[in-house]
């Protein structure tokens, strides 16, 4: 079995501690906010100047002056604040945001991240990706473990232009949870039914298997047959 996109987001959500300040990228990361339970407070930051962002606005209730970094209409939770770009990026670059959850094209064993420029891309765009990758203490990557052509994304060395070197701290995929440590990649969790050997076979960089490696605890509705990948 492997995790659906929602499954990856669910697993990341359970990782975020009470009281943490978190910036969510576009794609799978955006889904994370739906899975923060009622027992903890996590504060979502949007780089265009919002802290304490709530869910997307209901249709018909959009505030035209309130969008997130993906230009979607959003809401504010009690205790939220709004501010300008310099302040927002002071939070990011100054190390005040605890977690950035980002998508990735490639991650290397040393934590190098490539997520801003695809090979065939004709017009480049970087947005806040580099600021987040350089500035945030914990950079969580969420992605499918392999490309849709079946090639590994977790590599000994990135082949695409880097977003930032040595920045990724955790990798959450549809197959595994992997920590980036000074000693290299450590496999911490596997998707239900998968074993470390299978994960390694889809991972170009060498994995050390944590002595505490276990199956991910994810509800069944967030699991898909491997064929679904």
């Amino acid at each position: 079995m492997s995790l659906t996109r929602e499954g990856i987001a669910y697993r990341v959500a359970s990782e975020l501690p009470d009281g943490s300040y978190v910036n969510l990228g576009i794609g799978i990361p955006t889904l994370v906010s739906s899975f923060i339970g009622p027992n903890k407070e996590v504060f979502f930051h949007s780089e265009n100047g919002i802290l304490g962002m709530g869910p997307l606005a209901q249709p018909g209730h959009e505030d035209p002056d309130l969008v997130n970094a993906g230009k979607q209409y959003v809401t504010l939770l009690p205790g939220a604040s709004v501010f300008d770009h310099p302040t927002s990026f002071s939070m990011i670059r100054g190390g005040h945001v605890d977690y950035a959850v980002l998508g990735a094209l490639e991650v290397a064993a040393n934590g190098d991240l490539a997520n801003w420029r695809t090979p065939g891309e004709k017009v480049p765009g970087v947005g806040g990706a580099m600021d987040l990758a350089f500035g945030v203490r914990n950079v969580i990557v969420t992605m499918t473990h392999i490309t849709n052509k079946g090639k590994p994304k977790i590599l000994s060395k990135c082949t695409l232009p880097l977003t930032a070197p040595h920045c990724v701290t955790h990798i959450f995929t549809d197959m595994a949870v992997i920590d980036v440590t000074p000693e290299g990649l450590v496999l911490r969790e596997v998707a239900p039914g998968l074993d470390p050997k299978t994960i390694q076979s889809h991972t170009e960089a060498p994995l050390r298997v944590s002595p505490n490696c276990k199956e991910m605890n994810v509800p069944a509705n967030f699991l898909a047959a491997p064929a679904a990948r």
Binding site: S46, E47, N48, G49, I50, A57, P59, G60, E62, D63, P64, D65, L66, V67, K71, Y73, L76, V82, F83, D84, H85, P86, S88, F89, I92, R93, R117, E121, K122, V123, P124, G125, V126, G127, G128, A129, M130, D131, F134, G135, P161, L162, T163, A164, P165
Partner: protein, 233 residues
């Protein structure tokens, strides 16, 4: 008596000359001075260097300026939104130059200009393609890249309320690039929803003090804006 109000957006852009560098506020729709931009498109100045987070879209406002071939160079962080066809076409044909800057660095370069600083060292980008050829040094134990202040001839911003002294107040996520941009150009005009009497903005609610602003122009929000509030997008 000081009176910084203008009657029309046309007056706001009358002085824009060929080859000018222009800061355009906003991030998405919030804080985008769309009607000044449309007036600028019609005004006809060309060879412009435009500084904005993205590249606009469509055939009006910023997208229209680019579509009409008025922009020689764009300094942006995220010009690659799939909807921005005009920019993409011109860029691929080599008809528009692009300086790609990480979003936080872009905001800080603008702020530095307004604050009278010459430049700063930031960790963002060190060792990546976007810092290629740039000076670096190790500070606070990290490799940092030197980035210069980014000055402009004009800044066009959008605020919620304003007064005849140029004081501005923003709603919600409107502040974004507008706050630094309003400090960093020789000539600054704000498009506002509502002109209020002096004293109508509490001193603690002035987000851009009038000292930074040359003119304000009150506009009725474009129907496109209003549509968003009632229909979503």
């Amino acid at each position: 008596m000081v009176n910084k109000t203008l009657a029309t957006c046309k007056e706001a852009v009358a002085g824009v000359f060929d080859g000018a560098t222009i800061l355009l506020g906003g991030f998405g729709d919030p804080g985008l001075p769309g009607q000044i931009l449309e007036a600028l498109r019609l005004q006809g100045a060309k060879n412009l260097t435009v500084v904005h987070n993205g590249s606009g879209g469509g055939t009006h406002s910023l997208g229209g300026l680019i579509h009409d071939g008025k922009v020689r160079k764009l300094i942006a962080s995220f010009p690659s939104n799939p909807g921005n066809m005009s920019f993409q076409e011109k860029y691929l044909k080599g008809e528009i130059e692009l300086e790609l800057v990480p979003q936080g660095t872009l905001a800080e370069r603008i702020r530095a200009a307004g604050a009278g600083l010459g430049g700063f060292f930031t960790p963002t980008g060190a060792g990546t393609d976007l810092a290629a050829g740039k000076e670096t040094r190790v500070l606070d134990g990290r490799e940092m890249v030197f980035e210069k202040a980014l000055h402009a001839d004009f800044a066009f911003v959008r605020a919620y309320r304003g007064d005849r002294l140029g004081n501005l107040n923003y709603r919600m996520a409107m502040r974004n690039f507008n706050v630094p941009m309003a400090t960093a150009a020789k000539f600054v005009v704000a498009e506002i929803d509502e002109l209020v009497p002096v004293g109508g903005i509490d001193p603690e609610d002035v987000h851009t003090p009038g000292i930074f602003v040359d003119h304000v122009v009150e506009v009725v929000r474009h129907p496109e804006y209003l549509k968003i509030t009632t229909e979503g997008r």
